[in-house]
Amino acid sequence: MTAPHDAHRPPLPDPLPRIPLVWGPATYESVTDQISEVTEKAQPWWWWPAFLVTAALLAGGVVAATYLISTGVGVWGSNNPVNWAFDITNFVFWIGIGHAGTLISAILFLFRQRWRTSINRFAEAMTIFAVICALIYPTMHVGRVWYIWFSIPLPNANHIWQNFRSALIWDFFAISTYFTVSLIFWYVGLIPDLATLRDRATSRARQRVFGVLSLGWRGSARNWRHYEVAYLMLAGLSTPLVLSVHSVVSFDFATSLIPGWHTTIFPPYFVAGAIFGGFAMVLQCMIPARAAYKLDHVVTIKHIDVMCKFILATGTLVGYAYCMELFTAWFSGNPYEWQTFQDRAFSGDYAWAYWVMMTCNLVVPQVFWFRWCRQTPWFVLLVVTLVNVGMWYERFVIIVQSLHHDFLPGSWGRYYPSWVDWMQMVGDFGLFFTLTLLFIRFLPMVSMAEVKGVLPMSDPHRRPVPPDRYLKGEDGEYPTADHALAAAYGPPAEPRAEVPPSPEPVPAFVSTPGGDGKPWGAVAEFANGSQLLAAARAAVAAGYRHVDAWTPFYVHGMREAIGRTRSRLPLFTLAGGLTGLAVAAAFQFYLMAYYYPTIVGGKEYRSWEAFVPVFFELTVLLAGFFTLFALVGLCGLPRLFHPLDSHPTFRRSTQAGFFLTVEAADPKFDADGTRAFLESLGGKHAAVVEA
């Protein structure tokens, strides 16, 4: 899609060719097969032993939790003055882990970092599992877990509502919104791949389960038109959401006056740390999975390289925040701050933990300035393990060290974790890895639809390069070592030129079960995306109006080719956002200033500042719901049955097939004529389908 005047310009030199995101001769079929078969074939030998280990750890956590619930939170080591310890450390740790998933899926999407397509599914799944792990702690911390519903904004006895000026209720809103919107985002991303699994299913059960889960997605261009915009809207919502969540978690500490907690850099510092730790956990899980399932041409060494650079950047940002805190503690001349930081870094009982944190988070990631360190998987695995340790210790230092020495030396004390603390913590890791193993087993761990979209063969502007010049500069050399690495996998496959034969003969009129004898429309299969694009344009140019294209991924330009305008879905998102904002404003002001006015922290009844977190979270939550419902509604889903399902090759539309249809509703439609027209455009297996 270049501007008209581009046609007669010679191409500019390309001395530094872009390395493709997927290496070697991958095709739509090979990607589909490789990813889907993980969930379809028997599990590899290591899966059951790994699962049994993680499930055993999880069972230990369940035992500890049961003991805690039946006895009381006193079985934890938390006590005065260290009232928050392992519980909140683990809570913040897991919430942080989740942030990489949203960063990869949403923020990198907005920045068009298309390498994310290989890892976003995995990272998003980890987000959801990490949030589940995190939620255990506030729930347990209530002590009487059956009162956890008190955190839901409902009036309890005497019509007392929650205190909306408390950081803890903001947490409730932030994390439940985060969980919900992340789940929506993940699910929306999964829909095309669930449809692929449905269409590959060999058993009735799988077909039904994935049929229902995929809502009857068939990859119609009219649906992709809404889908792509909905995905953009969800990415746009998730981006500030991910910043808000760890900011709100940081408010749990920073709104207090505890030295070491109350400092203005906490929100962005927590967010940077969360992304840092989250990337480390993604690599921790992805490197073994990549090796076990031979995904090294999809999750290439270059992906690992780039993620290591993110770890370096965010680790350095976290180090910057540590230094700002330390500097300001000194520069402010505030004796309490300075005492806390001297204790934390030099003289205190937990100085060792501080230096574990400093070493693992600031010093160790600096090895990623070196290419070898970024591109040697076992070494990366070692470093990210240290990063995970460091990020756990960061929360431990912030929480335990700040609390154990507060303003009054008379109330100082130390913290000793109990066996219940340890067992719950280990059990949480068990839960996380158990869920991850189940996910790998049952759902496609790489987003097939998105990866197909970034295969070299999907790029309509690709200039053909002779194989011996592949990835070389003008001087015939590889510009970087990375180019040589990628070239060693071989040049990319060309799009196929022929439509593969049908497993069974395609009749001119395909009857559907329970059909009414009238035609639904005409359908034909094309060899590749470019041919389909040309055919769709030709059909529209020939005067057809009810044209639709069915593709395994979103083919750029298809929306315009079938004569459609940009989706109006953003209006629904905006409406949802404004509704959420209005609801949040109304109930917070009404409850806190009129219905049951309470003074908290010396703030005025009507002061708006403390209501901002909930304003924001409800805005995003309802905008996310409206987007999901608008997507489902505008696409006419769920649609579990479709006349096209009866066409013998149509199931390929979610795997590697490209189909064009003209519906009978079109004024120009004429059963035999339209079918012949589609064949004249190069369509194969052309047929008229019964409605």
Partner: protein
């Protein structure tokens, strides 16, 4: 490497991109006159009302420097990200960073202001007799005495400027060198150096903000203040860069090279940094408001006095809410007219933000508008524009042989 006389442009560019040379001589002269006249006004002010002059000068200086440093950020981040679409825009930012060296010299009046006791109050405080101070104050004086001692203070300012001048020169020299030789080697060199540049720029800009802006109230402190300074500068310089591009396009240059597709992306970044600024500004305000400790609230208390109260209240509305909604519709992001309006708005509001940070120290009870408050930013921002125009006169308008230029020319936004 002779950047002043570049060879002919490669074939295949959609627009002529030769240096504008004498065609901008008139613009350069006009700008020079504006800078000269406002400079004379500043000189008059320096003689008649020195305290007002030094504060206005600091405000104008930080405004200009912030834009120049933001431009350096955009140049560096382009290389860090190995970006392709923004190659054409990068030259504009490279040209803006030419202002770093003149601005290094122009810091002298700020130092004069400090060391004549007309600007930062810590100067008096650290020279007080410790015997006249009470317990805690004496401790604070000791800390500030160490941090603001003249050799350390001036030495580190010199260090900041050394970093900025060296990195901006390196990037400009290599980029201009590539105009002549092409190839991937210089691109890789710039990509190799850029990450350390971003890290050092972040650190030095933070301490610059601490030293010259935050320390206007020397007992006040905020760990996020450096990030707040970045957020404003990055956003302000993006607005300035977009305005320069729009001016070039209005004059008939680069119309097919930097198209509405590139502007759309720049506008998306502007939107993102609008939200980012609000996030940082709110984080700082909110935690201080919630904590309600006198040593921290002094910053906002001062800005709630008298006429400063409406100024403070309008800041988030005018600098966040209004540009947020102006930038929200896709059609606005793709309209040069809207973008011009929004960029001017953001740049003016960036000045407003800095004015709000600097001036209440001088006039704690009321907003006192002086002609110097206009003369200083006009003069110093004029210097930035002079440096930029000089770059446009001498170098091709885009990096003509950049390794990624092919990606930038004819680039189409793939946002659905």
């Amino acid at each position: 490497m002779t950047p002043e006389t570049p060879p002919t442009d490669p074939d295949g560019l959609p627009d002529p991109v030769a240096p504008l040379g004498d065609r901008l001589a008139g613009t350069f002269r006009t700008l020079a006159v504006v800078v000269g006249v406002s400079g004379v006004a500043l000189a008059v002010g320096a003689a008649t009302e020195p305290r007002q002059f030094f504060h206005s000068y600091l405000f104008g200086y930080v405004f200009a420097l912030d834009v120049a440093l933001g431009a350096l950020f955009w140049v560096l981040i382009h290389h860090v990200a190995d970006a392709g679409w923004s190659v054409g825009l990068r030259r504009v930012f490279e040209n803006v960073t030419r202002a770093v060296l003149p601005l290094a010299a122009l810091i002298v009046p700020v130092l004069v202001g400090i060391y004549t006791g007309n600007l930062h109050q810590w100067y008096d405080f650290i020279h007080k007799d410790p015997a006249t101070l009470h317990g805690h104050e004496a401790h604070i004086q000791h800390v500030k005495h160490v941090y603001f001692s003249a050799p350390f203070f001036i030495g580190r300012l010199a260090l900041y400027f050394a970093v900025w001048v060296i990195y901006s020169r390196m990037m400009r020299t290599w980029s201009a060198g590539q105009d002549a030789v092409g190839g991937a080697a210089l691109t890789r060199k710039m990509q190799w150096w850029a990450p350390s540049g971003v890290a050092l720029l972040g650190l030095t800009a933070t301490f610059f903000a601490f030293d010259l802006v935050m320390s206007l109230q020397y007992t006040w402190f905020s760990t996020i203040f450096g990030v707040y300074f970045w957020a404003g500068g990055i956003r302000g310089s993006l607005a300035a860069g977009v305005l320069i591009v729009l001016a070039l396009r209005a004059a008939g240059h680069l119309r097919h090279t930097i198209t509405v597709e590139h502007l759309h992306d720049a506008a998306k970044l502007m939107f993102g940094f609008t939200v980012f600024w609000a996030y940082i500004a709110f984080s700082q305000y909110f935690l201080i408001w919630y904590g309600n400790m006198p040593e921290e609230t002094q910053f906002y208390l001062l800005r709630r006095n008298g006429a400063w109260y409406p100024v403070s209240m309008l800041l988030p509305v005018l600098y966040f809410v209004v540009p947020f909604f102006m930038l929200l519709p896709r059609a606005h992001k793709r309209s040069p007219a809207w973008l011009a309006l929004i960029s001017v708005w953001i740049l003016v509001m960036h000045a407003y933000d800095l004015y709000w940070q600097v001036m209440p120290v001088l006039h704690p009870d009321t907003v006192h508008l002086s002609y110097l408050d206009a003369a200083a930013p006009v003069c110093l921002f004029g210097v930035v524009l002079l440096a930029t125009v000089r770059g446009l006169q001498r170098l091709p308008l885009i990096p003509v042989r950049d390794a990624r230029l092919g990606e930038s020319i004819g680039y189409v936004n793939e946002t659905p």
